[in-house]
Symmetry: C2
Subunit: 352 residues, 2 copies
């Protein structure tokens, strides 16, 4: 096997035929009455170009409808203009959680404003991981944004070893080493904020629905909860959700109602989980917030659409995306960067 993903060799011929050969730099130079080099200089910042040449070239570009051939340019500059957005998740539930969608949209938009494009790559299976690594090594992208929720994901380290600029969204796996740059919301202090709030509202038996144990959210948010409650947080007050889904939230909440029937508040580690928790509480005849206070995490779109609307911890997703892009582009430009942890804040609605 050649070390190369198959790219439909058969179809190349046809694709080539179909492509009209647009005007090249040569054509523009001819029309403008200058050399190819001058056209190139106009394209790349217009330094050291007389205003007469500048005008002539611009006019010629308009006339010919010239569009630069990015492949030719990339071949010499060794820079593709694209960034890989790598989603290291099992494929089934992808995008069910609005957090990912928000991140992806924001990054795409911000990169676009910088004249860069985003390649979406899935890396949930071993084959996909290989493809992604191969793709990055092939120089298709100038840098990588990795969104991985699971600890112990080997991809982070492998990507780092390619030597390409890399920024991870969320805290990187411990095994990654200290040199890995990341941007994360402060999960732990957000969880503390919410737990303290529930306590301040006079509740005595505050349970929690934690996220899966192999995710940063599942670890950090539970830690924040424990920071506040100390030994008051007994094991019967903690339930693990199997995934970040509505169903899993419902199941975890049901388990909690069984193990701790007299709970009077619950901190749920994500809004989507909280939707399920609300259903379980309603189903058990518990009034929210009357009998049980419910606090979520994320402040995703669904938080204001539940009944009652969800009091939650706001992750600054737009800012996470902005910093992710900023840090990565700095890295691509060869400038020094450092990791960033962004503050979270409490958003009060009606559920707590």
């Amino acid at each position: 096997m050649p070390d190369e993903a198959p790219v439909h060799p058969k179809s190349r011929g046809a694709a080539r035929r179909a492509q009209r050969r647009g005007p090249t730099m040569e054509d523009v130079a001819d029309v403008a009455g200058v050399s190819r080099g001058t056209v190139s200089r106009v394209l790349n910042g217009a330094n050291h170009v007389s205003s007469a040449s500048l005008a002539a070239v611009q006019e010629a570009m308009r006339q010919t409808g010239y569009v630069v051939n990015q492949n030719a340019r990339s071949l010499v500059t060794r820079s593709s203009g694209a960034i890989a957005f790598v989603l290291s998740e099992p494929p089934d539930r992808l995008f069910e959680d609005p957090v990912l969608g928000s991140l992806l949209r924001n990054c795409t938009q911000l990169l676009g404003e910088q004249g860069r494009s985003l390649m979406l790559m899935l890396a949930g299976t071993p084959e996909e991981r290989d493809r992604t690594l191969h793709f990055v090594r092939g120089g298709h992208v100038d840098g990588v944004l990795l969104v991985s929720m699971h600890d112990g994901d080997p991809l982070a380290g492998e990507l780092q070893r390619t030597g390409f600029p890399l920024v991870v969204c969320g805290r990187p796996p411990a095994a990654a080493g200290p040199s890995m740059t990341y941007v994360a919301a402060d999960d732990r202090s957000g969880a503390r904020l919410m737990t303290q709030y529930l306590l301040d509202r006079g509740r005595k038996r505050i349970a929690t629905v934690a996220g899966p144990a192999d995710t940063a959210g599942g670890v950090e948010r539970l830690a924040g909860y424990r920071d506040v409650l100390g030994r008051r947080a007994t094991s019967r007050m903690v339930a693990r959700a199997a995934a970040y889904t509505i169903e899993a939230g419902r199941e975890a909440m049901t388990a909690l109602l069984r193990s701790c029937p007299d709970l009077d508040a619950v901190f749920v580690a994500s809004d989507l989980l909280a939707v399920g928790a609300l259903q379980a509480l309603h189903g058990a005849g518990k009034a929210v917030p009357g009998d049980v206070l419910v606090g979520g995490f994320d402040d995703s779109a669904i938080a204001s659409a539940t009944t009652p609307p969800l009091t939650t911890v706001r992750q600054p997703l737009a800012q996470v995306a902005a910093e992710l892009v900023e840090v990565l582009l700095k890295l691509v430009a060869g400038r020094p960067v450092s990791s960033r942890v962004l503050p979270t804040e409490l958003v009060r609605r009606d559920s707590a």
Copy 2:
């Protein structure tokens, strides 16, 4: 202004320096003791290559860690290996609806399996549209998948005029002309299915929450509803949602309860809208399905997570994605294609 998006000319130098120059075809050829041409032939299908050369080249590739430079290859083949996935939507609510996420994930996965990559492009604003067009014309991609929910979107026509292979998801705007290839779920007959089902369950006053009037879903699904009810569908039984969101569904349902207080069933044009409709009904003290039958559309992940679980019309999204990719790649290969409309089906749960 040069006709060219700025791609950080300043950063190029740094990026270049940072890039280690991997082994080239020349290096592989040297190690294998053959010419560059033979290495290339091995890479592109291994026809007309002796098994001795083949083995030598493969071994040399392994030894050197060779990875093909896609830019150099694309420059001569005029084929980038990438496909643009263009989302022509206003940015705010993007991905709130799980339908888009599902489509994107499936397309990315299927393209990946074909050795192709997906570039995500937003085209919600005029600037973004220009960027997208420029990008496509620049030859960055071999073809375009356009997901546009809004009629009268000029982008479809503009993309078509570039001459690049294009497939639209959903029925294209009427103005697009007959030659535009599309893949769509059969919205109208799905709506008929649901309306007929509500009728068959003995309901007399079947209202509908329709999608925005400028979307295919808003038009076709309402048409299907009217196909079945004829003049029994009076204007007071139809409410338009302002967008495909939970809030809009709640508002439309509230309006319906005012204009038609004795309704005993409602067909809601999307699952997300139906979540809002359920909230409004519960808020008004109506039991579902006891007092009012509720039918949704999409069968997205949320449909099985509502209380009660939603009876809905299933859009075959995985199949839509598969056909989208298949048709586009055929087009890219220069083969003939035709548009496809995929059947929808009723999924019974508890809300109706």
